[in-house]
C-alpha cells in the first residue's frame, strides 16, 4: 500500500465500509452453512456471500483502483457478471440433484413428485 498515501479520506472510508460489509456478510453466510440443520436450509446461506459479499468487495476494489488511477476496472465487472450468472445455475442443479437423491432413497421429509414431471423410466 505504498501508493495509498495520497488517497482522499472519503474514498478510504467508503472503500473500508464496503469491504467490511462484504466480508462480514460472507462470514455470516458461511457460518449459516455450518450451523443450519437441513440441506435445503443450508443451500440458502452461501448466496449471502455470492450476492452482497461479492458485490461489496468488488465495488470496493473498483472504487479504490478508480480513485488511485492505476488501471481500468474491467476485471471486476467481469467477475461480478460471471458470479451473478453462474451462482443460480449451480445451486439449482445441486438442489435438483439432492432432491432426486432424497426421492430415490424414499426419505419422508421431501415433497412428493408432481404427476406432470415424472421422469422417464429408462435410464442409461
Amino acid at each position: 500500500m505504498s501508493e495509498a498515501a495520497d488517497l482522499p479520506l472519503w474514498a478510504a472510508l467508503l472503500v473500508s465500509a464496503l469491504l467490511l460489509i462484504g466480508a462480514g456478510l460472507t462470514l455470516i453466510g458461511s457460518y449459516g452453512l455450518l450451523r443450519l440443520e437441513r440441506f435445503y436450509d443450508r443451500i440458502h446461506a452461501p448466496t449471502l456471500g455470492s450476492s452482497w459479499g461479492t458485490g461489496g468487495i468488488l465495488v470496493a476494489s473498483m472504487l479504490l483502483f478508480s480513485v488511485l488511477q492505476t488501471r481500468p476496472v474491467l476485471h471486476e465487472i467481469l467477475i461480478a457478471l460471471f458470479v451473478t450468472v453462474t451462482t443460480p445455475v449451480t445451486l439449482m442443479l445441486l438442489a435438483r440433484a439432492a432432491l432426486y437423491r432424497d426421492r430415490t432413497e424414499g426419505n419422508a421429509d421431501v415433497p412428493p413428485m408432481l404427476s406432470k414431471d415424472v421422469p422417464p423410466t429408462q435410464n442409461p
Binding site: T26, R42, G49, T90
Partner: protein, 93 residues
Amino acid sequence: MSAAILNWSITIAQIMLGMAMLCTIFRLAGGPRAQDRVLGLDTLYLNAMLLLLTFGMRSGSTLYFEAALVISLLGFVATVALAKFLMRGEVIE
C-alpha cells in the same frame, strides 16, 4: 491517515474471509452427505476468490484479479460437474 484506515480494514476483511473459509472447510470435511460436501466446496471456491481480491487490493497488482477470475470459472465448472455426477452417476453421457 487514509492509508492506515485502508490497511486495517483490509486486514480485518482478510481475517473475516479466513474464518468463513474455515467454516466451509468444516462443512466440507464433516458434511453428512455428498451434496453437503459439494456445497461446501462451492462456497470455499467463492471465499477463496474474495480473499484473492483483497490480496490484490493490498498489493495493487493486476495479477490477483486474473487469478480470481480463473478461480470463479473453475469453481463453476467443478460444481456443475459434481452436481451432474450426483444426479446421474456420470458426468458426460
